[in-house]
């Protein structure tokens, strides 16, 4: 589509991402229990945010931050394609996010018992990060 993205919508999307980042800053059991009914709203925002270069980074931060919620409330099946799509739309200069998202994707695949795929994801992550081994070790921990 040639038309430009609505600035008002973009601003609202950024505000919504900030809202979710704040809401999920502390994710203990009580917080997850309270937030869980709102999962469809989180999913919608994340799915929109990863499609736009302007909001990709904050959306990736949010994806990384809510991992315990996703794991704890068993939204793994719905979340796995989100992380994969986020990686697919990743801007070129986002290597730090790339490593961490690959790690989470691998974890989700492992939780889903897609063991072979999980190993391949981890391997891709290591290959990608071969120039910054210390970074890999730091994130792998």
């Amino acid at each position: 589509m040639d038309s430009e993205l609505s600035p008002r919508f973009l601003k609202a999307l950024q505000a919504t991402l900030h809202y979710w980042l704040a809401q999920t800053a502390v994710l203990d059991d009580a917080a997850i229990h309270q937030l869980n009914p709102e999962f469809p709203n989180l999913l919608r925002v994340v799915k929109t945010g990863i499609m736009l270069p302007e909001t990709w980074r904050e959306t990736a931060d949010l994806i990384l931050q809510v991992f315990f919620w996703i794991e704890g409330a068993n939204h793994i099946g719905q979340w796995q394609p989100v992380v994969a799509k986020c990686l697919h739309h990743m801007p070129t200069n986002e290597s730090d996010h790339h490593f961490r998202l690959l790690k989470q994707l691998g974890q989700l695949q492992r939780l889903h018992w897609e063991l072979e795929t999980a190993v391949n994801t981890l391997y891709a992550r290591l290959i990608r990060n071969r120039k910054t081994i210390t970074g890999t070790l730091r994130h792998y921990r």
């Binding site: 589509m1 919508f9 609202a12 999913l43 394609p81």
Partner: protein, 467 residues
Amino acid sequence: MKQLQTAVHAALKAWQTLDGTPTDLLEHLLIVQHERANAVANAVANSVSNSPTTRRLMTNRVLHQGIERLQKQDPVAAQLLSSRFMDGDTMLMAAHRLQLSEDQAKRRQREAIRQLTQILWEQETAVRQARLQQLHSQLPPAGYHQLFGTQEKVAELVQILRNPNAPWVIAVVGIGGIGKTSLADAAVRAAIAHFDYAQLVWLRVLPDQPQDVANGILAELAAQLCPDLPPSATAVQRDHQLRTTFKAAPHLVVIDNLETAVGMEQLLQKLNDFAHPSQFLLTTRVRLPATTTAYNFLLHELPPKAAADLVRHQAQNIGVQELASATDADIHPIFAVTGGNPLAIKLIVGLAAVLPLPTILADLKAAQLTEIEQMYRHIYWQAWHSLSPKAQALLEMMPLAGDIGLKPEQMQTMWQLDQPTVLAATTELVNRSLLEVRGTIWERRYGIHRLTEAFLQSEIIHLPEVW
């Protein structure tokens, strides 16, 4: 109540037997079904099976509990029933034991059975209410206050759903905005009130769900119905478990908004395999292929009279008095333009609150729209231009709401809006049928129809790609 009393008497008489008929086992009562379900659930621990003897035992247990309650109200009545049916005494023996004449004992027995029936019915009513509440909690909030022109369709669909033979997979087919979800919702609410289903599942397929819709639906069903299925289970194991669940007890599964044709045949094959006694009700714009074993339930536009009733009802709701009291003939031009499409009608009535009706209709006619999508696009543009800036701003943000909708306080916090702004904008948008009221009266939420969302994404927001 008379029928139940006869059945209770039959059940008491069959106390000593090892099996029974559905009537003398009181099988239609939920209290009996619950007792059995509990027994089957504990079967492994207690070495109990779902044999005819177990079924009789469970019915007797329900009767016994009823008699225990009766004991508190009327000890003689309870003793008479115990003596006659549990101990197997003759009427004469029971009468002697209670120091009654035989005639008195006969009269007391009739009265005791009536009292016991009343006790069981009270228990049954309480269980039914709780069950209905639990089933209703599985349904999404109804997106309508009243249905117009579809009462017969609802009755027809309920009849199809309650047909003990078939069909097992039914698709409500119709164009966008025609009211497929509302029809399915109304039919399901009516059908579940008969307690034919052990479980109800309502799945809504989101337009942004992954390509493999069929697999997503099966995974979601497994997540809801087979909680013990290990994450390591393969698709084959999952489907086997689902099949066992669906075959064990009648489930009603609604798959709403199944718009994609991708993988449809494969999904229908699976659903047909799972079906009987379980049923699957789909809503879709796509008529299912003749090669599949599914029943196409076609939903057409409203007839003129129902369309006129909808116009008046909607106009009354939003305070457009001239239209609320208009005759069928006055309203006919709206029908002529919309072809009786309910959503289009509601949008035009909403527009009539701010623009002269002849202007709206003349504009639509002049556009010479041949496709329903074109008509919607045109109506949405008219609606958009007639909104206040605050309402426009709020509506533009609404594609960020998930299917459950957003609470007003969430909108305020997320988008830094003050309460009066949100209140004014939501009221305006609801009156114009651009915002749907969801949630409950305790927790109001707001969302948008798929067609509204599609318009906003393509025409207003210009999202480069929709997932």
